[in-house]
C-alpha cells in the first residue's frame, strides 16, 4: 500500500523527465544520422543523474566519482573477456558484475570517507580515484595500463554484424533503459522518507540527527545507489559501446568535473535539473567539439562561475522557488 502510493507519486513527478528520454528515443530512430549525438546526450544526462543522487541530494561532493563508472566498465569488460563463450549471458553477467564492483568500491570508500564532513570528505575522495587507477596500472592488474579490449571476443561470439549492433544500437538501448531506471530511482527517493532524510542531511546534518534520522545509513544508501548507476553507465557506454576499457580514459577526473558542472547548472537534488544540465552541457560539448576540439574546457569555467553566482541552486532550484502551485511544483520536481 505504502509502496504503491510512493510509486504513484514518483510517476507523477517523473512525467517530464521520462518524456525527455522517450523523445530522445524516438528522435534516435527517426534521425539515424544524429544517433551518436543523441547517445552522447544520454550519456551526460545519466552521468548527471547518477551523480545527483549522492551529491545533489546530500550536498557532499565526491571528486572520485568517476572511479565507480570505471568499475562498471571493468565489470562488463572482464565478464565478456572471460565468459564470451556463453554469448548473451556474458553481457548480462557483465551488467551484474558492473553493479557489484561499483557498489563494492562504494561500500568500502563510504565506510571510511562518509565519516568525514564537507571539505574533508571531498579531499579524501580525490585520492580514491587516483589510488585505484595506480593500483591497476602499477600492480599490472586486469590488463594494467593497457586495459581490457573485448572487440575480438564480441566478434568471435556474435559474428561481425551482431557485434557491431551490440556496440551501437544495443549499447544505446541499454543507455536509454539505464536513464529511465535512474529517473525512476530518483523519483522514488524523492517520493519517500529517503528523500526527506537526504534533504535534511544536506540542509543541516546535526538537526537531522536530533530528529531521529540515521544519517550514516542514508548517506551510505545514496552513495552506493549513485555508484551503482554509474557502474551501469560505464558498462554500457564505455565497455560495450567502445569495445575496450583503458585506465587513462575511465579514471579521468574530467568526467567528475563535468558531472559537478551539470548538476550545479541544472539544480542539485531535483529530478529535472540533471536532465537539463546534461542536455545543455552535452550539446555544448558536442558542437564545440565539432567546431574545435578542446574548446569545451574554455567554456566550462566561466559557465560554472556564472551559475554559482547567479543561480546558486541551479536552474531548477531557481524555478522551484518561484512556483507556488503544488501541482506545477510536482511537475517541475
Amino acid at each position: 500500500m505504502v509502496f504503491t502510493n510512493a510509486v504513484r507519486r514518483a510517476l507523477r513527478k517523473a512525467r517530464l523527465t521520462l518524456a525527455a528520454y522517450i523523445i530522445l528515443g524516438v528522435l534516435y530512430l527517426a534521425f539515424p544520422h544524429y544517433s551518436q549525438l543523441i547517445a552522447t546526450l544520454m550519456f551526460y544526462m545519466i552521468l548527471a543523474q547518477a551523480f545527483n543522487i549522492f551529491m545533489g541530494m546530500t550536498g557532499y561532493i565526491d571528486f572520485g566519482y568517476v572511479a565507480f563508472v570505471a568499475m562498471g566498465a571493468y565489470g562488463m569488460a572482464l565478464a565478456v573477456e572471460s565468459l564470451y563463450e556463453l554469448g548473451w549471458a556474458s553481457i548480462i553477467v557483465g551488467f551484474l558484475l558492473a553493479v557489484a564492483l561499483s557498489v563494492a568500491l562504494a561500500s568500502m570508500v563510504g565506510a571510511i570517507a562518509l565519516r568525514l564532513r564537507g571539505a574533508y570528505f571531498a579531499i579524501a575522495t580525490i585520492g580514491v580515484n587516483e589510488g585505484v587507477r595506480y593500483l591497476i596500472e602499477g600492480a599490472n592488474l586486469v590488463g594494467g595500463s593497457e586495459g581490457v579490449i573485448i572487440v575480438r571476443e564480441l566478434r568471435a561470439t556474435f559474428g561481425r554484424e551482431t557485434a557491431n549492433f551490440i556496440m551501437t544500437g544495443l549499447a544505446d538501448l541499454a543507455l536509454l533503459l539505464i536513464g529511465i531506471t535512474a529517473v525512476m530511482i530518483t523519483a522514488l527517493i524523492l517520493s519517500t522518507r529517503v528523500g526527506y532524510a537526504l534533504q535534511a542531511i544536506r540542509e543541516d546534518e546535526d538537526a537531522a540527527r536530533a530528529l531521529g534520522i540515521n544519517v550514516t545509513r542514508y548517506k551510505v544508501m545514496a552513495f552506493t545507489i549513485s555508484a551503482g548507476i554509474g557502474g551501469l553507465l560505464g558498462a554500457a557506454n564505455w565497455a560495450l559501446k567502445g569495445g575496450y576499457v583503458e585506465p587513462a580514459h575511465v579514471f579521468n577526473i574530467h568526467y567528475t568535473v563535468e558531472a559537478i558542472v551539470m548538476v550545479m547548472l541544472g539544480g542539485p537534488g531535483t529530478l529535472l535539473g540533471p536532465i537539463i544540465g546534461g542536455l545543455f552541457y552535452g550539446s555544448m560539448n558536442y558542437f564545440l567539439g565539432v567546431i574545435k576540439p578542446g574548446l569545451q574546457l574554455l567554456f566550462l569555467a566561466p559557465i560554472l562561475l556564472a551559475v554559482v553566482v547567479a543561480l546558486p541552486k541551479g536552474l531548477m532550484g531557481y524555478v522551484r522557488e518561484r512556483v507556488k502551485d503544488p501541482r506545477l511544483r510536482e511537475l517541475l520536481t
Binding site: M1, V2, N5, A6, R9, S191, T192, R193, Y196, A197, Q199, A200, E203, D204, D206, A207, A208, R209, A210, L211, G212, I213, N214, V215, K313, G317, E321, K324, P326
Partner: protein, 249 residues
Amino acid sequence: MGMAELLRLERVSKRFGGIVAVDRVSLVVEEGESLGIIGPNGSGKTTLFNLINGVYTPDEGEIFFKGQDITRTPPYKRARMGIARSFQIPRPWGSLTAQENVAIGALFGARGGQLDVDEALERARDALRLVGLGGKEDAPAHSLTVVEKKLLEMARALAMEPSLLLLDEVMAGMSPRDVDRVVETIKRVKREKGIAVVALVEHLMRAVTAFAERVVVMHQGRLILEGPPEKVMKDPLLVEVYLGEPVEV
C-alpha cells in the same frame, strides 16, 4: 501527575578544555512533568540539553531514559526512543517548506517508519496549526521570521510524538502574545498527550512561573536550587546568581 521516572541524570559532567560546562548534575524528570531550568548565560543549560539528546557524551556520569542506559546512545536513536528538542538558534532545513520540515519530524520521530509521506504531511499541517503557524505550510523555512522558526522547531519536535520535549529558549524574543501561545501549547500537549516538557529559560521568568510545576536553577554548571516556581523566584540565592543581570519576575 505522572509518578514514573522518565529521565535520570546521575552526576553528569562535561568539560570543554578548562571549562566545566556541566558539573556533576543529577536530575530526575518524571513522566508528564513540566520543568523549567533557569540560569544566566553560560551556566551550562544548552550543554545539559546536548548531553540529554546525545550531541555530546558526558565525561563522567550516566543518563537513563525509560529505565535504559542511554549514556552512549547516538542522538538519532534517542530521538526514536522519545526525546525531542528544539535548538536555541533555530535550525530548520531552510530550503524545505515549513510543512516538510514538520513532516520529517513525524516520519523519523518516535513513530518513525509507521507513517506514509502523505500521512506525515497531514500530521505536519495539524502540528503547524497547533503552534500558530497555520497558513505557513508552503513557505520555505528560510523565509520565516526568527519567532516563526522557533515555533516551527516546536511543531517539528511535537510531530515526533515524543515523551520528553526539550525546549531551548523557545520563548526568548517573542511578543507576550506568542509567549502566551507557547505556554498554552506546552500545557495542552502535557494535558492531552502526557508529554514531559523541560524548558530552558534565561530571562523570561514570567513564562516559567506560568507553565512550570518545578524549577531548577543552574549556575556555573551546577544545579543550585530546586522547588516550586513561586518559592524559587523568591529565593535570595536567585538574585545573587543573576547579580547585575535583569530578572523579570
